[in-house]
């Protein structure tokens, strides 16, 4: 199981997965970040709760 969290506020988004965070300014960047993140996610990855960014 792979888990990914996206937090969006005030035009900015943070994509969090597997302990890494990618900040995005546009929806297109979010799309690219999801692609990049999911490609690198190993099977069984679960994101620890503390890595979820609260903006």
């Amino acid at each position: 199981m792979a888990t990914l969290t996206i937090t969006i506020k005030n035009g900015e988004a943070v994509v969090t997965a597997d302990g890494s965070k990618l900040s995005c300014d546009t929806a297109h960047d979010v799309e690219k970040a999801i692609g990049k993140t999911t490609k690198s996610l190993p099977t069984g990855t679960k994101v620890p709760a503390q890595t979820v960014t609260q903006k």
Binding site: T5, I8, K9, A27, E31, T38, Q54, K55
Partner: protein, 145 residues
């Protein structure tokens, strides 16, 4: 007339964002409602006159509109195929439009569009997505595959 710092690349997601905020996307409506006269009395980084010919004000390819205001958001096609957004922030009509979309610069419209794009992208990749809102008002999408 104000420019919005956004590029819509997916009109379906733009429609979803507008609907989530209580509005609607009207496809192929070639004009949008505004004050109707360019007064050249506003200097700001957000001013649409910085990058658009005032003669084009009120013209667009699609429109996002909301209840309780006559002013609308125009979506204008760019050379790269995406759509930028422009609207009139003047007066009570403009302020109501901004209130519907989270304030100056329409941040909630941008956030809802990003959320719609994210959900679509994640769904295509086989993720199940749940949406919540945190204490700070941020949209939180949790995706599990």
């Amino acid at each position: 007339m104000a420019d919005v710092d956004i590029k819509f690349r997916d009109l379906q997601c733009a429609a979803t964002a507008a609907k989530t905020l209580g509005g609607e996307l009207v496809l192929n409506k070639k004009t949008f409602e505004w004050y109707g006269q360019f007064l050249n009395d506003w200097r700001s980084d957000r001013a649409a006159v910085n990058r658009r010919d005032p003669k084009t004000f009120g013209k667009c390819d699609h429109v996002i509109r909301f209840p309780n205001t006559t002013y609308e958001i125009g979506l204008c096609k760019e050379d790269d195929g995406s759509f930028t957004a422009v609207y009139d922030s003047y007066g009570p009509q403009g302020r109501t439009l901004e209130q519907k979309c989270g304030g100056v610069g329409l941040p909630k419209l941008k956030d809802e569009y990003a959320a719609a794009v994210s959900i679509r992208t994640l769904a295509r990749k086989g993720f199940r997505v749940t949406r919540t809102t945190d204490k700070q008002g941020a949209i939180v999408l949790k995706a599990v595959s």
